[in-house]
Symmetry: C2
Subunit: 331 residues, 2 copies
């Protein structure tokens, strides 16, 4: 293997992301210098946050530069090392981006133990998405047993973890997802108490039926009509962890129409980015890893095959076509 492929951002989207926003490139495998590690990636993580980085706008992170490797989390294997901390064969997680191979100086690289946890899970339930769920639930929503928790994008990599953790805390857990198949999975496989299919055309009525005691805490991934529906059911002193607004990722303005409820129900809303709370990662990863290793935390993956399919898989993710954690398998 003398060459590898990577995907760069070719242009910024106007509205929906299209395949020609990306460009695939073939490059020679580089030599590594003293202190560096060469990694062959096994899986690439695709996540909604990447849509935000494609914009050249003020946000919590710098924009993805044009003509550089698309940002992204990766798990893979060390294939050459001039760094004493890493040996050939080590499994590692890093942020090498949409690329089959990459060089790291070890700074953001972490060795993984795959004895009890599959490699890909470190990009999902035992990785950034799982930690996002864990942080929002335990640090912002703080639900008590018996309270009703609502999770949007419930079958996704983040939502599925939120709901399972909330069930283990003794909450009534209601998911919101797109389509009967996802809803069936959320209830039958993940153990949520109910799931509302927002595509069924009667979101407000269905959510009211599923939350007879109102809603005490929300984990919001979607925004727009889905969020407004939850707001309309909030109980006094409800807490909202705002994690994403995928409904607005194509640049649509995202309004909150039920804004009065924040006042009348004395709600607390907090937007957050889990990467700003690194101090809590060891605790969260420990808990999530134990639950995955012992089967207490289930997850599902949508796996695209080969780096060439990454753009299409990412576009599908933004449309909700994935089912669980979206990955690209590279080997």
């Amino acid at each position: 293997m003398n060459h590898y492929q990577r995907i760069v951002l070719a242009s910024r989207p106007h509205g929906q992301v299209t395949p020609d926003n990306f460009r695939i490139e073939t490059l020679p495998v580089p030599e590594i210098n003293e202190g560096e590690v060469l990694i062959r990636n096994h899986y690439l993580s695709l996540d909604p946050y990447m849509r935000g980085r494609m914009e050249d706008a003020k946000s919590y992170a710098a924009p993805q530069p044009l003509n550089e490797t698309m940002i992204g989390g990766t798990v893979g294997e060390v294939v050459a090392s001039k760094n004493a901390r890493f040996q050939v064969g080590d499994k590692v997680i890093g942020m090498l981006g949409w690329t089959e191979m990459g060089v790291s100086d070890g700074t953001l690289l972490r060795k993984l133990d795959t004895t009890h946890i599959p490699l890909s899970a470190y990009l999902g339930a035992v990785g950034m998405p799982g930690l996002t769920a864990w942080y929002g639930l335990t640090q912002i929503m703080q639900p008590k047993a018996g309270e009703t928790v609502v999770v949007s994008a419930a079958s996704g990599a983040v939502g599925s973890v939120v709901g399972q953790l909330a069930k283990q805390l003794g909450c009534r857990v209601v998911g919101i997802a797109g389509g009967a198949e996802k809803c069936a999975y959320v209830v039958n496989e993940l153990g949520f108490d109910a799931c509302v299919d927002y595509k069924a055309g009667q979101l407000e009525a269905d959510l009211a039926s599923a939350t007879p005691q109102g809603i005490d805490a929300v984990f919001e991934n979607v925004g727009g009509e889905v969020f407004d529906a939850s707001l309309g059911r909030m109980n006094a002193f409800g807490r909202i962890a705002l994690c994403g607004m995928i409904a607005g990722y194509n640049g649509e303005q995202i309004s909150i129409k039920n804004a009065r409820v924040f006042l009348t129900m004395r709600l607390t809303l907090r937007g957050f980015i889990v990467s700003e709370h690194m101090d809590l990662w060891p605790q969260g990863l420990q808990e999530l890893g134990t639950k995955v290793a012992t089967g207490q935390l289930k997850f599902r993956e949508s796996v695209a095959d080969g780096i060439g399919n990454a753009p299409q898989a990412f576009i599908g993710l933004l449309k909700g076509q994935n089912f669980g954690k979206q990955l690209v398998k590279l080997i």
Copy 2:
């Protein structure tokens, strides 16, 4: 004085409040029973929250009943007492409503010391509005010296206290108010660093000029376009105390258009009602009372004369025609 007048809610408003939503009644002065106190009110407080009570809608408090005395805070003087805790001549604060006289069993009645603090101030800067300001600022916004704080309805009973307290904490304080006269007062008399006149037609641009370092904390009384303008200037980890949405008090839907900012700037928003935090009232009242008595906290009052003018004064308050705390003087 054998008779007194009161004002009852005659009908619920459809949209804007009109004078015929109220009815004035003349009643004989009642005899008091053992344990009771008869009070002659000197001032009646008019506050935006009363508009919400006029609706028959799910909110944080029960609706104002039809044909009963309009709810409201009052300060007055005991004129007859069969309660050992109160003597004739005592100055008291209570919730007797829009009425010249009232009977209390003493439960919600508190004696006032007017040696250093004028009686009317207990309905304003040293009363519920002042505490609302103090709570939102100290418990939710928690600004640090050097941060930029924005206060809407800045010349009002609540906003004027928020801004003065924030200045004393070392913040840059920017008010938003309606009209050049109110803005001049906010800057020249209350000592805010700047004030934006939202009626001048360039709210966003003027707010940007007044907040060159962005906004770290907001005390929101208005909602609507005013709130969206502040949201558009928020810095990372900004805090918002949501106290009121007077822009929507006539039943208009209040939207937040800049909702994406909650996520991109990782904001915390909390709606609150100060009456639910009675545990902090003694501390807050102590601080506010000392500041008023020593001249560190200025306030202004709009005083309507006589109970018959209460409805018109209240309608004016909802339109922002008051200047500072709106009172009705009864004696």
